[in-house]
Symmetry: D2
Subunit: 352 residues, 4 copies
Amino acid sequence: MTAPMEASNKIINIAVVGYGYWGPNLVRNFSELNTARVHTVVDLNPKLLELVNKRYPATKTTTDFQEMLRDPEIDAVAIATPVNTHFSLAMAALKAGKHVWLEKPMAETSLQARSLVEEAEKRGLILHVDHTFIYTGAVQKIKSLIDSGELGKVLYFDSIRVNLGLFQRDVNVISDLGVHDFSILDYLFNEHPIAVSASGINHFPGTPENLAYITLFYESGLIAHANVSWLAPVKVRQILIGGSDKMITYDDLEPSEKLKIYDKGVSFTDDPKKIHEMRVGYRTGDMWAPKLDGSEALRVEGEHFVDCILTGKTPITDGRLGMRVVEVIEAATSSMRGRGETVHLPRQGSSK
Amino acid sequence: MTAPMEASNKIINIAVVGYGYWGPNLVRNFSELNTARVHTVVDLNPKLLELVNKRYPATKTTTDFQEMLRDPEIDAVAIATPVNTHFSLAMAALKAGKHVWLEKPMAETSLQARSLVEEAEKRGLILHVDHTFIYTGAVQKIKSLIDSGELGKVLYFDSIRVNLGLFQRDVNVISDLGVHDFSILDYLFNEHPIAVSASGINHFPGTPENLAYITLFYESGLIAHANVSWLAPVKVRQILIGGSDKMITYDDLEPSEKLKIYDKGVSFTDDPKKIHEMRVGYRTGDMWAPKLDGSEALRVEGEHFVDCILTGKTPITDGRLGMRVVEVIEAATSSMRGRGETVHLPRQGSSK
Amino acid sequence: MTAPMEASNKIINIAVVGYGYWGPNLVRNFSELNTARVHTVVDLNPKLLELVNKRYPATKTTTDFQEMLRDPEIDAVAIATPVNTHFSLAMAALKAGKHVWLEKPMAETSLQARSLVEEAEKRGLILHVDHTFIYTGAVQKIKSLIDSGELGKVLYFDSIRVNLGLFQRDVNVISDLGVHDFSILDYLFNEHPIAVSASGINHFPGTPENLAYITLFYESGLIAHANVSWLAPVKVRQILIGGSDKMITYDDLEPSEKLKIYDKGVSFTDDPKKIHEMRVGYRTGDMWAPKLDGSEALRVEGEHFVDCILTGKTPITDGRLGMRVVEVIEAATSSMRGRGETVHLPRQGSSK
Amino acid sequence: MTAPMEASNKIINIAVVGYGYWGPNLVRNFSELNTARVHTVVDLNPKLLELVNKRYPATKTTTDFQEMLRDPEIDAVAIATPVNTHFSLAMAALKAGKHVWLEKPMAETSLQARSLVEEAEKRGLILHVDHTFIYTGAVQKIKSLIDSGELGKVLYFDSIRVNLGLFQRDVNVISDLGVHDFSILDYLFNEHPIAVSASGINHFPGTPENLAYITLFYESGLIAHANVSWLAPVKVRQILIGGSDKMITYDDLEPSEKLKIYDKGVSFTDDPKKIHEMRVGYRTGDMWAPKLDGSEALRVEGEHFVDCILTGKTPITDGRLGMRVVEVIEAATSSMRGRGETVHLPRQGSSK
């Protein structure tokens, strides 16, 4: 819990660091909020800053990160740079007393992630990790279906997240694509995985793994699997969630019916007379595709971030969630390099 | 290589053992061949035999397997009984000098499978395992695309084979569904996996595992994965095969365009000047869905079996292929129970 | 209303005439009913009758239609011969006192259809026309959604029914494919079209029209359209039904979710202040795919036919429905040959 | 043929009139060209002009269309206003010596369209109508497949273009959606339709027709059909084109495989011995989805417009094409109001 900003009609000044692939989306998004403005954009490349000058003449630009940090007008720093710079930049921003919005994954190691979480908590600053998917209408709807008990006991989560490219040079495909599933899992279930087994391969020597299969085991009996690849001929973004009462398919590429809820399940008989027969019964019924909130997730997330700064609330995707996601990436990568050997994760009931 | 039958216009007399789920398909299929006839049907259930009498008045029926074996008119025995009876029934048939058609998986253990293979080879009898998928137009087309080099180097094989039910009581989902992928892999590639890592779960105590994820590792760098489940809200039968030059999607539920070949791939530069840039390039081009041979696979397979008996040829899906498939099931099940621990498979270069 | 048969446990003896494309389905289907049996099969081709003898040894066969009519054991005659023989065969059967099941379309002209209807009514015999689609779970569900008012006022019906082949020699594509839509429309709505405009073409001289577009106009404001073709590269069987409250898509090729009901519609404002603005509002909501009755339609229809014979009830797809369908085919064909000129249909409120 | 501009490196100054729905796309698009710039934006609504000032500070804005016309720096005027203003604005622009880019449909009546064409030709000015679809990779590919003879003789064109809304107040659905098909047809085939039959309805009194079915007849035997609606629960943008050798499906909503070419067709035998049998044979083969040029159509079209101004070339979608499209809209609307009565179109061989 952080200390709220005093005035309710304060405009939050944000500095965006990194104007490469994702940075421009952050600048556009923060610019459109009523409660925030983009005060400064930082990038090492002056050509990218020229683009900012043209499109946003009222926004300052600089190549000097430290100079930006010294500006007392700036309330928050949004960091959209390569992963290997996240820790040092975010730590410096926190130490300069700035709230931080950090791209995912939040750090290269869980140790780094933990340091950032502790620094932010010590200083009463907001540390927000940009797991955008959590703020989509689809994930919000799934969360409410699970929490209301409509699915029954959730038995499995199965995700396919594949396409051709883009090969990353500095992070493997687990860190690039699996990160989405790990954050969604953390948000949906009040449970941290207890073990992970992963396999994967780098087909091209000297590059990170471009294809991986990750299984997460949970104490409740839930099992989760992610199939992630940069080397598929077709793009797939599909999640199955099976409950004892109902089951969900979530196809993120479907324009209008992303979520389908199947009134399907299995039931068991304990009738001893049937002990030698099939004891599993099937139930199939209607399918239902709810209308989803179509708001842009990044917009919802941006408003939430600013609201947390203004009111002192803890972000939904706070540093602790981000840290647990990094722990899973770390464990999965370790298991993958051991060809599937089980890697155990620490219990974290208290920290959720 | 077995000794060919003398006369070319001989009609092969087949006994079908087991008239439950699959047996009726075998009887119908063998009945329609010009070179074979169903001489006898064996089942322990007299009611099922009544059905045979009505539909096929010229076919003998009996509940006595041994009696059938003693009939010198019978050339071959097709066994479609539960897996746990395969070994004893097939061994008895071989010892009685009959050629054998055996449902998949051919045995519960690889030791049993090996005994059957050795018995058949010793006696010069045909031992055919019914891996029907191999005889489909789709798998035949994939095989020819791989063998002609059109895909380039094959990098991965990724299969999803899920639906709701039928829960089996005596075998797990790897044995029930993964078996298809293992046989297709064995047929497509001249390579036996060297290690396997699998995870899975039985959501309902006292039943076999109903959901599993299996990764197979090959010495050439090929990686294969199968996602199999009896607990999915939708039926999926989809395989992706990625080559360095082209990639395939194979959707077995698609009525008319099961196979799509994508002129897509990645290329790498070794240009030292680009060492700090992205070194992976993408190539995308046309997609092509070849017309497939639409013959019923079971019909093609039946003719092949009879042809092997008549000519002494080795079946495509002979006992050795069936044995290698059982080895993979065994290793995958073992790994699954160890939560993904790597299980190594014996080298079998010589036996392929 | 016809006179009911006396005994409730009577078995109805049916003669099936025509054992070509559809006849075998009728024989199989009537054979499986508990309340009926296939007494005789008539066909001019002795080779086809040999097939019957093999498959159904208890069924009589003959090439002599008149001989069959003289057999007093036969209660009902099912006619599955080319359309140009329907009238004479059905009339002879009715005059011989037999109930009649007639394939669709029931006759070549509406005059012929009317004669058959009047003959059956005069004699108190069942005249059933085989519009199988009416007995599917999908059409039954649509009917109940319309009748319950759930769709609101139905505004349009739009059907696409195209594929490659089979080119017919004796009937055009309206008679072959449009017939399904016309019977579904007659069943769903308590209204006969008042006018029709159709266009179409025979691309190959000397053959019937192979592609046609038909619009039906109704007094209530409903408009219906059917796009039918034997010359499409893909098979499509899709119907849209738009209501003021909800809308339906019905895809008959979809294996599991044939029917989707969209909570979508438009609303209008009469607010005079908005007279210069858009006065149409949109409403979009959930989509819902109800589980359908999966019974085989032909089985349901067969039971209904026999039940009508036994109880004297009027079949759902009686001769009057069949006659109205022929009237629409006739009018549509006439309009098509006049390149879309409006053809008016007689009012038939009283006869429904 | 118009007189080319002198200097090849001249920058064309464009005024965009109308900054409502489509105008902003034109401004963005022309701004990105190297050979043109947006000199002025005209709109009656000062609030919309403020938006322009913010986004494009170097662009002039005015509410006075006449004032803009008097500016000698302006070479060309792009008109994106309601259809009922097209004629007067475009005529004024031509009379002021400006080249004109006009949104579709180019005018309310074919008489108006003809006046504009004649005025432009008299003055040697470019009159370009914005039929954007013509410039897509998909339509360009279809054109080349037809022109190369790969489809064989084209037999039919069948388009479905439906969705929910937007209801227009001033134009009917033929003018709003059918216009796309009519322009594509004009571009693909060297033939003007000779007759049209259309049906349609306005479900809501006082509004234009919201659903229509249009059939176009061509002298060559080609038949074309468009199904257009603002009242469908799902969005469909699908065209089938059937040739005697190959057939095409074009699904504009498909992200990656918009065009599929089927090696399917029919063949006829004239063998007199087969006169009583089926004389139509079917051929089915591979399907092929070519990679399409992914350039933004509006960008390609903008460059083409500027190129025509600079070189004096005639635009692909010139006023004559636009006029023929208006003729078809006019004839179809007239037929629709006569419930399908055939409306004949003038021969226009000379003008193509």
